[in-house]
Amino acid sequence: MDQQKKIITIGGGIAGTEVSSVLSSLGYDVIMLEKSNQTGGKLNNWNHLFPNGRPANEVTGFLRQKIQLQPFRIISNTSVSRVISANGIFALETTAGQQLQANAVIISTGFETFDATRKEEYGYSIYENVITSVDLEEIFKKGKTPLTSRGENPKRIAFIHCVGSRDEKSGHHHCSKVCCITGVKQAIEIAKQLPDAEIFCFYMDLRMFGLSYESLYREAQEKYNIQFIRGRLSEASENQDESLLIKAEDTLSGRPLKMNVDLMVLLVGMIPGKETSGMAALFGLEREPNGFLSVRDLHLNKNRSSLEGVFLAGTCIGPMTVDETLENARAAALDVHQYLQRTKR
């Protein structure tokens, strides 16, 4: 193994941590840059994972253990401000002013969740009782039950799917993939906490592609009486008592629908974050129309960017589940390893 070869991973979420751990275990000199003060990314804010309800901190904890077992250098609160590449060597300057060099760079800057305030008609951050799936997960993580703005148990709750996904108006045509099953998971969690609450999910399609997803969806209906209504919400308004009047079309019955709910949860989609678009600009990488980073070959080279020596891992490529992200990161590690084995520099 060539100990001299250096790798820089930009982004210390679960993909960045996994790819760095694997490459470190293969004997490379790895430095991981993380913009915040901890590794694990957005998973740190998540309570339970679909489809089996596993605590998210088991996964982040496992990844932290791997760092301890196979240490590599982590520079926190840092990103990249400048890049120069020549003869297969990348010279990076960090936002803290450090000068670093690498034979290969891995971008694992992840995603951001869609800013729900942009769907103005749903009233997020205007109406008191509209929250996002991210907000709800934070409530769960604190061990609390979601309450209305007046501190009462909500009697009727609506989940709105595809907020900022498959949506021409917001400019995001892609499917975020994870929201359908997240909605089912979160609806069941509320049903367990508030068994008397009526829970409705408003969806366009339900894309239950993963192992056990379909059975969880069936369980939501059969065991927890969660009602799924095929119809996209047109608007929400606030009533005098701060409950919400929502309007949709039930496209299965072909009729418009109007109902009052006490709490509305917006299942926000995944979009490429500022960090990802920043790296694309800095390295001159190609991007897809949806803003995620373009891969060299969708089937055969999914971890290579449009630039030689720059690799991609995780959700900077597109929406992924946690398990897909980790698999993708391991594939990226293998690809980097093969690339560095072939290069003589």
Binding site: T117, E120, E121, S125, I126, E128, S237, N239, Q240, L245
Partner: protein, 363 residues
């Protein structure tokens, strides 16, 4: 409801409104429904704000009603719009001030079409040249007149004689704002504050001392809808839409409704009478309705214009209770007098209470 987030949305939809030199494009129907509004706009602009507005006698209807009723093809529509622009160009104006929300939507649609399909603009230029020998420049700015009043709302507030404060209670009057669909729902970026939380009318209400009523059916259609009211068989649909709004706003006890669209103002005003006749239901206190004003009428009232010069006597819902709340000094005996004291005739049913019950009122 959190105002801070609304303000952030409003800031996302800033629109350039010129400070002066407007070419006025009138509405084809407003002078019938609310005959003082357009005159009030010109008076406010010229006399109170000292602005230059050209009211060209040669311009025509935008033909929007015929277009939206499928009676007139787009080619004709854009050629008529091109003629208006040609008159503007010949007069030396670059800023269109559009009185009607339908017309505002029409001019916006034509101009946006020309941006996307330049061949359509070429076609309009050719048709206009062949028909009239005229040429035109595309306007630099197209603003709805409510945009312009919004733009000058603080100047109007500085000169206001009255404010939207209830003289009996000292509290702000509660005002419902209703935005015409074609103002911002077609092109959200062309409306002040966007489509969902337009601030064009709420900004006026707040600047003039009132409190905006945000009720659940705020965004719902007034019921105007060309295909709904033009076909008699569909008018039940029209009135039921208006009724839905009234039912939704009623618990908030609004003192007035203001609109920026001729159709909305007319139907929200006149359908109150119809609902009173059909169901015996009124939405104001007692037997009163909720007065419906255009934004020019409201601006005129704030500046101390005589309510009868503004044309408030031809409204279906009686505006006098609102005038009394504001504290407007007016002469009730002049309500149905025209120029030089000419008697205009008094309507049999001056307000929106149920006709059957009116018959038993002595006198």
């Amino acid at each position: 409801m959190k105002r801070q987030a609304k303000t952030r949305i409003w800031n996302d939809y800033q629109k350039l409104i010129p400070d002066d030199n407007f070419y006025y494009l009138r509405s084809c129907i407003r002078q019938n429904f609310f005959p003082g509004s357009e005159h009030a706009f010109l008076q406010i602009m010229k006399n109170d704000l000292q602005k230059n507005v050209f009211d060209d006698p040669n311009h025509t209807t935008c033909t929007g009603i015929a277009y939206h009723s499928d009676l007139l093809p787009f080619e004709t529509l854009q050629t008529v719009a091109a003629r208006q622009f040609a008159l503007m160009t010949e007069s030396g104006y670059k800023n269109a001030a559009v009185s009607c929300v339908t017309s505002f939507g029409i001019y916006s649609e034509v101009l946006e079409t020309w941006k996307e399909f330049p061949e359509e603009e070429a076609k309009a230029r050719e048709l206009l040249w062949k028909a009239t020998g005229r040429e035109f420049n595309v306007p630099e700015n197209v603003s709805h007149c409510s945009d312009i009043i919004y733009h000058f709302r603080d100047q109007i507030a500085a000169g206001q004689k009255y404010s939207l404060i209830n003289q009996h209670t000292g509290k702000p009057l509660k005002v419902v704002e209703h935005i015409g669909c074609h103002y911002a729902k077609m092109f959200p970026g062309k409306g002040i504050g966007g489509a969902e939380f337009s601030s064009v009318l709420s900004g006026m209400i707040e600047s003039w001392g009132g409190e905006v009523v945000d009720y659940p059916e705020r965004r719902h259609c007034c019921g105007f809808g060309f295909r709904q009211y033009l076909i008699m068989g569909n008018r039940g649909y029209s009135v039921s839409n208006s009724r839905k709004k009234f039912e939704s706003m009623e618990p908030y006890r609004p003192d007035a409704i203001i609109c920026n669209c001729p159709g909305c103002a007319m139907f929200l005003d006149k359908w109150q009478y119809v609902i009173g006749e059909m169901e015996g239901k009124t939405y104001g206190p007692g037997r009163e309705g909720i007065p419906v004003l255009t934004y020019e009428e409201l601006a005129g009232l704030m500046l101390g214009y005589d309510p009868w010069d503004l044309g408030l006597q031809v409204h279906q819902v009686d505006c006098e209770p609102l005038l009394q709340k504001i504290g407007v000094q007016y002469d009730p005996s002049m309500k149905f007098k025209g120029l030089n004291g000419k008697n205009l005739g008094k309507p049999v049913l001056p307000a929106c209470f149920k006709a059957a019950e009116l018959e038993v009122i002595p006198g």
